[in-house]
């Protein structure tokens, strides 16, 4: 098993960390060989901590059974969409330190008990093999790569379907709006179409011309829409990352989304032009110019 470092996340001790850090300012902390700890950037900033500072951490919100640690560095917590509204006041400890900190001293097996740990592998591609290995060696232990779907993914599937439903309704509404707009635009040009028909332009020729124009307009509209979405993506992410002090990406325009937009917008634009112009071309040329 290739593990160079194992850091454990004190997920249950978020508030405790704050309490104990605050306590560190009031109580003198003994120096010496304090074990190292990494603290989140948010915790560093909120408590004005620096690398090399000594802090006392406890798994108990009252600050009992605290232990002293030296801050070795700061890290940017992995964004968690389920907790983006909570400040990421976290610390990462070596596993033995975590066990010593969180274990119940009256329980002899406490030091052997931990509900969950995150393990960083040198090569993330080994995650599956590692999970199988852990499950084989430690029967009863559930080991799974973080990339694997878990229960929380269900929530996001629902959200994704909800978004898809909203997008579908929006697209349908936009298509109707686009068709109405194209009808108006084409109708405004009925004099021109009538004149062209009188001169001797065939319906097919005019339709092809309108389709070419419709394709250009749809292409420009699609490009504009994608460009606007990309700008909004940046603005939206920056605002909410600032608002919640997180590196979480709230909005991502993926190549798939871009491809989907092109596949929907272009044919819709072309179809709207074709339908609108055909309703005009069906009419008699004299009726078009006599309006």
């Amino acid at each position: 098993m290739r593990r160079t470092r194992i850091w454990a996340l004190v997920a249950m001790a978020l508030s405790a960390a704050v309490a104990l850090t605050a306590a560190s300012a009031a109580q003198p902390i003994e120096a010496g060989e304090a074990p190292g700890v990494l603290v989140s950037r948010q915790l560093m900033e909120s408590r004005a901590l620096g690398i090399g500072d000594l802090v006392r951490l406890s798994a108990d919100p009252t600050g009992g059974r605290s232990r002293t640690f030296r801050i070795l560095g700061a890290y940017e917590p992995t964004p968690d969409p389920m907790r983006f509204a909570q400040p990421a006041l976290e610390a990462r400890l070596h596993l033995p330190d975590l066990l010593a900190l969180s274990g119940n001293p009256s329980d002899p097996s406490a030091s052997d008990t931990v509900s969950s740990i995150n393990v960083a592998l040198v090569n993330p591609a080994d995650a599956d093999a590692f999970a199988r290995d852990v499950s084989t060696r430690l029967p009863g232990t559930v080991a799974r790569p973080t990339s694997a779907p878990d229960d929380r993914a269900g929530t996001f599937l629902v959200i994704e379907r909800f978004h898809l439903a909203i997008a579908s309704v929006t697209m349908l509404g936009s298509a109707v709006f686009l068709l109405a707009l194209m009808m108006m635009l084409v109708d405004e040009r009925s004099d021109v179409v009538g004149t062209l028909r009188l001169i001797g332009f065939t319906r097919r020729r005019i339709l092809m011309q309108v389709l070419a124009e419709g394709t250009c307009i749809a292409a420009v509209g699609t490009a504009f829409g994608i460009g606007f979405a990309l700008i909004m993506q940046g603005a939206f992410n920056r605002f909410f990352q600032w608002r919640y002090d997180t590196a979480l990406v709230f909005l991502r325009i993926t190549p798939g989304v871009v491809a989907q937009s092109i596949l929907l917008a272009l044919p819709l634009g072309i179809a709207a032009s074709a339908i609108a112009s055909w309703t005009l071309l069906r009419r008699h040329p004299l009726a078009l110019v006599r309006r």
Partner: protein, 228 residues
């Protein structure tokens, strides 16, 4: 050998279906237009003059009867074939000009040639020649909104002649023009006829009718006076 007429209508009727009752615009009309003729069609409003012109120009099709353009029965042609015929064989001039407002005078005259597949150089030469012919060479770069009524009608005539049609149909060409400007158009039509183009003009204008070599009077959808 006898030349076939440019256009011939045989026992043509045109009935417009209306919600209240069908309206008969033309009733059993027959007419032959020979090459180089100058024909004026007169009559009260609603007598069927314009309908006859539209049928002769393949813009409309008769409800019954036959129309032959250079011995081709228009009734057997598809809409696209009729369009091609209008483009290459027939020039149309309307009372309201129907110029394309976004194009210059030059472009308006060049457009039908481009659609007919005339080579670029030939198109340029022909457009310059036509604008010169109607006396608007200096206004070539102007859009219709920058031209007077008479100038617009002259551009419309130049456009109608773009593909060297053998037949020019004019529907009230002086209807929207003052007497003096109308006079210029009459002179131009006269010159066109002298140059060998057959001209059929529908008009209320006595001066226009006076220039024609054959005068047809219509009433209630029929030719009541003049040789058809």
């Amino acid at each position: 050998m006898t030349q076939p007429p440019i256009v011939e209508a045989r026992h043509v009727s045109r009935v417009f279906p209306m919600a209240a009752a069908p309206v008969t615009a033309l009733s059993d009309v027959s007419i032959r237009i020979e090459a180089g003729e100058y024909v004026a069609v007169v009559g009260p409003s609603g007598c069927g003059k314009s309908t006859l012109l539209h049928i002769l120009g393949c813009v409309d099709v008769p409800t019954s009867g036959d129309v032959l353009v250079q011995d081709r029965n228009v009734g057997s042609l598809s809409d696209a074939e009729r369009s091609r015929l209008r483009l290459r064989e027939i020039g149309f001039v309307f009372q309201r000009f129907f110029l394309l407002p976004m194009l210059t005078a030059w472009e308006n005259v060049e457009l039908p040639q481009a659609e007919a597949g005339v080579a670029r150089l030939d198109r340029r030469r022909r457009t310059a020649e036509l604008l010169e012919y109607v006396g608007l060479a200096s206004r070539a770069a102007h859009r219709p909104s920058e031209l007077s009524g008479g100038e617009m009608q002259r551009v419309a005539i130049a456009r109608a002649l773009a593909n060297r049609p053998r037949l020019l149909l004019a529907d009230e060409p002086t209807g929207e023009l003052d007497q003096r400007t109308g006079g210029h158009i009459i002179t131009l039509l006269d010159r066109l006829h002298e140059d060998g183009t057959a001209v059929v003009v529908v008009t209320h204008d006595v001066a226009v009718a006076a220039c024609a070599h054959r005068l047809l009077t219509m009433r209630d959808g029929q030719i009541v006076e003049g040789s058809s």
